[in-house]
């Protein structure tokens, strides 16, 4: 592309490897699940579906369960990773994740509200999405002092927002009848087991448009990550640009989270892994974070599907794997960022 430097050439093998994984992982994931499908069966089903649209077990499993689940896993991994990479750059803090502004607690509150009071009449997603976005804007409004919002005030108001919505969530859980409480608990743990084409239709448009703009704007993240004052001196309209980034990143995460529930640690981890592999320049790191996130999320869900019998919620698994891995990363790369 545009920068023929030695450093970038060294990255080419890594980029190619990641791209190959991005193609191979979903293909291999077709064969994983409680109902065993051999490669020849999968190929037969795919070819036959072109000729005759008759539905039998194998084709339902493949087209209505596995493929949507694979696509949704990748979509969610992509969204939370891209938005985390964005937040880490604008907050100049590598420990920030997509949930920093209270998004997850807002979405959790919305989901609980929906399950508790409208469980029979409407799907969970709209309220989860709505409250996720409301939480972010609440945090942002709270943090504005004299027209400016600093990193510290944003993080603090994110903590406050999280506290309020978490308290609200507990109130709902305390009041609600037991069978609905179970639904809330399951949602909070994050799961892809009920993935459907409908879920993809819900979240794909927002994720696609939001990510497209984030990727187009990504070089500006390098400028913003220098800090507000410096970015201004470099000729950037910091206030407006930050709102644009926060809005886009929140929308794509909210649309992913509202469909599958809380997915822990992927968003925090993935930008780190990507930066370790490919450096800090967001021109490369932002889109590649999305790709790496999609692969890791799918792998995590594959593990869930392999452990048939007890299907663990994938959000719990990503946390179980993610937290220790992250501890290892921090020890290993200490001083790489400070």
């Amino acid at each position: 592309m545009d920068s023929p430097t030695v450093a970038r050439d060294n990255k080419r093998p890594i980029i190619i490897s990641i791209s190959i994984l991005f193609i191979i992982t979903p293909v291999l994931s077709l064969f994983i699940g409680a109902y065993s499908l051999s490669p020849s069966q999968v190929i037969t089903v795919i070819f036959e579906s072109f000729n005759s649209p008759t539905l039998y077990n194998e084709s339902i499993i493949l087209f209505e369960i596995r493929i949507p689940r694979i696509i949704l896993a990748m979509l969610v991994g992509f969204s939370v990773s891209v938005s985390s990479a964005t937040f880490q750059a604008i907050f100049r803090n590598p420990l920030v994740s997509e949930y920093i502004l209270g998004l997850s607690s807002g979405a959790a509150f919305g989901a609980s509200l929906s399950i508790a009071f409208f469980g029979d009449t409407m799907p969970i997603q709209p309220l989860a999405f709505l409250f996720g976005v409301i939480a972010v804007f609440l945090s942002y409004m709270m943090s504005r002092v004299r027209g400016e919002s600093t990193v510290l005030s944003l993080v603090l108001s994110g903590i406050i927002t999280t506290a309020i919505f978490t308290a609200g969530n507990y109130i709902i859980r305390y009041m609600v009848e037991p069978e609905r409480l179970q639904g809330i608990v399951v949602w909070l743990m994050g799961s892809l087991s009920s993935a459907s084409w409908q879920d993809i239709r819900c979240s794909l448009p927002i994720v696609f448009v939001g990510s497209l703009f984030l990727i187009l704007l990504r070089w500006r993240l390098n400028v913003l990550s220098m800090g507000d004052e410096e970015a201004k001196a470099l000729g950037i309209d910091v206030g407006r640009l930050k709102i644009v980034f926060i809005t886009l990143a929140s929308l794509i995460t909210a649309s992913a989270v509202s469909v599958v529930g809380i997915i822990g640690w992927i968003g925090l981890m993935v930008p780190h892994i990507t930066r370790m592999l490919l450096g800090s320049d967001n021109r490369l790191t932002l889109p590649m974070s999305g790709i790496v996130g999609a692969i890791l999320m799918l792998l995590a869900d594959d593990v869930v599907r392999l452990s048939s019998g007890v299907e663990l919620p994938v959000g719990v698994l990503t946390t179980l794997i993610g937290a220790p891995f992250f501890a290892y990363l921090i020890r290993k790369t200490r001083g790489g960022w400070e």
């Binding site: 920068s3 430097t5 100049r92 201004k232 000729g235 930066r275 021109r283 960022w337």
Partner: protein, 255 residues
């Protein structure tokens, strides 16, 4: 050219930080802003490039009112080298220098090969080509300062504002930075406004100096007009001696 007329600034109405500041920065000259800590030097620099809004008075950039200019337009006229700099992420030096091109790069674009060429050119002209692929966070303080100056030069702005470019640098890096500043103004015709604490260095490098105390410019002129014993003692509130060595005045503290 930058012209400041009757500039006043205060963070809170009761306490004025800058009072009736008047100054001009033309091309091809180095102007140093001197004065004790808290005299308003950094505040003045931030007002001039629009990071702080003046309470009253005018700032004209090539005759245009600063208040009417967009950030992008200000950045095309004035490049700023901040005093302290920490980045969170380990960017390559080339990527840091490229940020100087921001006022010329469209919202949805990234630096083009022409931007990358000009970044390499600046690094080359400063004799630090070999920094390009190193990580900015791995550089020493002096090396980082050179990179920030490269970033400012990469924008091609006719005026450079530097906030204490030599502070915390060792002797050799002080020399490197000041040599570059001299070259910028003499051979490229750019105007330089900087704050600096070392009066002897200011004397050597400046075409004009402005001496500040409590938000007021108490004296301006050539270094030899301004940096005389009485005025230094008045502005800084401490005794100094001026030694004459090889026909040059060296300012020393009386302890």
């Amino acid at each position: 050219m930058i012209e400041v007329k009757g500039l006043c600034f205060s963070y809170e109405p009761s306490k004025q930080v800058l009072k009736d500041i008047n100054l001009k920065i033309r091309g091809a000259e180095v102007v140093s802003l001197l004065g004790p800590n808290g005299s308003g030097k950094t505040t003045l620099l931030k007002c001039i490039n629009g990071l702080l809004k003046a309470t009253s008075g005018d700032i004209l950039i090539n005759g245009l009112d600063l208040r009417r200019l967009k950030r992008k337009e200000i950045a095309r006229h004035i490049a700023y080298v901040p005093q302290e700099h920490k980045t969170t992420f380990p960017y390559r030096v080339l990527d840091v220098v490229l940020l100087g091109r921001a006022p010329y790069i469209g919202l949805f674009s990234s630096p083009r090969s022409s931007d990358i060429d000009s970044a390499y050119d600046v690094l080359h002209s400063m004799g630090i080509d070999h920094f390009a692929d190193r990580l900015y966070t791995h550089l020493s303080g002096g090396e980082r300062k050179l990179v920030l100056i490269a970033r400012a030069l990469c924008s091609g702005a006719p005026t450079l504002i530097l906030d204490e470019p030599t502070s915390n640098l060792d002797l050799r890096h002080q020399r490197d930075v000041l040599r570059i500043i001299k070259t910028i103004s003499k051979s490229k015709g750019q105007g330089v406004l900087m704050t600096i604490h070392d009066l002897n260095l200011a004397m050597r490098v400046s075409d004009r100096v402005l001496l500040m105390k409590d938000g007021i410019i108490v004296k301006k002129g050539t270094p030899s007009e301004v940096l005389v014993k009485e005025q230094i003692e008045y502005a800084y509130g401490c005794e100094v001696s001026i030694f004459n060595i090889d026909g040059r005045g060296i300012i020393g503290l009386s302890l």
